[in-house]
């Protein structure tokens, strides 16, 4: 199988997740080449052809599409693999449309000649099989272990024309101020807490455990907790020894940010919620009743 990987550059560096594309290729025992747009000092280390273009900005989708299509033209791969990231989900469908090919998004595994993807907010899975001779794939970050990077690519320069449809005005850095990455205990609130008032129950438990308060995305979007406390792929990545997920269903973007945790305690009324795929202990209970009881039991130990 021939696989064209599409690497990602952000801020002049190849992203760490790009190595996961090679991990995916290794699982398929595929012959690899790569397309990579942007100016970087550190080219990815692998043995194969590396198609490079410079000139268009990071968010000029048409420029990136043109590079990938030029590489497809020369390489004639069986599949083109992106990461399922803000870059991948923006560019991949444009490439799939130009190739008139199937796209399979968010691949987490391989199965019976098809690609395993998540459905229903991560609660379910299914196997998708392209019906076209070539396919475009986006690979879920975290699903395939990064491959060791070694070798030196044969660099092939591509003249891809920049496009003026999207003008880049600049980036906004995330608000920081709360560093959850070193916390040993994190108690996180999810949509299931139900209201800003109920977040206090989460705070009380975190305080009893001597830990920090974290949040899933809907809680931050609702304004119940500050964005600096968001855990997940669009927030912080954390690895505490104890992670307590209160009313968090466990969307894959959240799991990506906390799956390095030592012990995961999930409190949820839905025993099929995807958080159970990473939970060491699931307590099926109403948060409003259980959290105060647990807080009291922990305080009673002192």
């Amino acid at each position: 199988m021939k696989l064209l990987l599409v690497g990602e550059c952000r801020d002049g560096r190849v992203t760490a997740e790009t190595a996961e594309l090679f991990g995916f290729a290794a699982r398929l025992d595929a012959e690899v080449s790569m397309a990579l747009a942007g100016s970087v000092d550190d080219l990815p280390a692998f043995d194969g052809r590396l198609y490079r273009a410079e000139g268009g900005h990071e968010f000029d989708a048409t420029f990136h599409k043109r590079l990938v299509l030029a590489a497809v033209e020369r390489e004639r791969p069986d599949a083109v693999a992106f990461l399922h990231s803000s870059y991948g989900w923006d560019i991949a469908p444009r490439v799939a449309f130009a190739m008139q090919s199937a796209q399979v998004s968010g691949v987490v595994g391989l199965d019976d000649g098809g690609y395993v993807v998540e459905s229903c907010n991560g609660k379910m899975r299914r196997t998708v099989k392209p019906q076209t001779s070539r396919a475009v794939l986006t690979i879920q970050p975290g699903a395939f272990a990064a491959a060791p990077m070694e070798g030196s690519p044969e660099v092939i320069a591509i003249e891809a024309e920049p496009d003026s449809a999207i003008e880049f005005l600049g980036c906004i850095q995330p608000e920081r101020g709360v560093d959850l990455s070193r916390a040993s205990v994190i108690v996180s609130a999810g949509r299931g807490v139900g209201s800003a008032e109920q977040v206090e129950l989460v705070r009380a438990l975190a305080s009893a455990l001597g830990g920090e308060v974290g949040a899933s995305r809907p809680v931050v979007d609702a304004g119940w907790l500050e964005r600096a406390r968001q855990v997940g792929s669009s927030g912080q990545s954390v690895s505490p020894s104890l992670y307590v997920a209160c009313g968090i269903s466990g969307a894959i973007q959240h799991l990506a940010g906390m799956k390095g945790s030592g012990f995961v305690l999930a409190v949820n009324t839905d025993r099929d919620a995807p958080i159970t795929s990473v939970a060491d202990l699931l307590v099926v209970a109403d948060l409003a009743e259980f959290l105060p009881a647990l807080t009291a039991a922990i305080q009673a130990r002192k």
């Binding site: 968010f59 392209p130 019906q131 906004i172 850095q173 939970a279 699931l282």
Partner: protein
């Protein structure tokens, strides 16, 4: 200003999903249905834009699916959309993104929409393809996963969410298609008069073939639950007893909660 919003009806994700007879997708009986959350942001943003422009702007809302999606179209009308379009297609829940995009683009082609708003992805299939595929078919500029939108003189400034909490600011001109991410806005609750009015609104009903339905590009099989953590323990019952059990388990892992008090 002519605006299109494309929305999908999905089951409540708290529901229990059972494979259908062929295992290609879930059995649709017994589920509660509502508007895909990402699409609620698309509807709200379109309506806000229309309101900010005063008169002269119209918002058309479109959904594909069986008869039950009419309820979701009416929800969008009650939030402030002007015209409802129902592509009556009982097979829609099983169709791949290519097919769905073929119908929406087929409807939109030649109707002169200045802006198209869509959700970034659906909560059930989560492929994040339909919006971009529509834009490619129609030749529209497209930004995905927007968390901010500002319109000024025929052009828009948007923010796109990137990894790690970073965002980028982009400017593009109409005609354009935007896919909406969580956090873009807070969708309104419709007022009672608007709900009543939306119930009486006449919808345009179209067949899949009349808007150019194409063949699928991919098949779906073996729909199944995710594998739970094999090592995981599930506890339920009286909360007082549960709390004591949980403390005992945490204490048994010395690294988590040592004897003699929490850190």
């Amino acid at each position: 200003m002519n605006i299109l919003v494309s929305i999908k009806q999905v089951p409540d994700m708290e529901g229990r999903f059972v494979p259908n007879a062929s295992g290609s997708w879930f059995d649709q009986t017994g589920l509660a249905w509502r508007m895909n959350e990402y699409d609620t942001f698309a509807v709200e943003e379109a309506v806000r834009l229309k309101e900010s422009l005063g008169g002269g702007a119209r918002v058309t809302v479109l959904s594909i699916g069986p008869a039950r999606v009419v309820e979701t179209i009416r929800k969008a009308l009650s939030m402030g959309c002007d015209d409802g379009v129902h592509i009556d297609d009982p097979e829609a829940p099983e169709r791949d993104p290519w097919q769905i995009a073929s119908m929406i683009a087929g409807f939109a082609a030649g109707r002169g929409f200045d802006l198209v708003f869509a959700g970034m992805q659906s909560e059930d299939r989560g492929f994040a393809q339909v919006g971009v595929l529509i834009a490619e078919r129609l030749g529209l500029a497209c930004a995905t996963g927007i968390t901010a939108f500002e319109w000024r003189d025929g052009a828009m400034t948007v923010e796109r969410e990137l990894e790690g909490g970073r965002r980028c600011r982009l400017r593009l001109k109409a005609p354009a298609l935007l896919t909406c991410q969580l956090g873009l806005n807070t969708p309104r609750y419709p007022t009672l008069p608007n709900i009543m009015k939306s119930k009486r609104a006449a919808l345009t009903v179209l067949s899949p073939d009349s808007v150019g339905l194409e063949s699928p590009k991919a098949s779906s099989e073996n729909f199944r639950p995710h594998e739970p953590n094999a090592a995981g323990v599930i506890l339920e019952g009286d909360v007082g007893a549960l709390a004591a059990q949980v403390v005992a388990i945490l204490e048994s892992r010395a690294a988590i909660l040592g004897k003699g008090g929490a850190r």
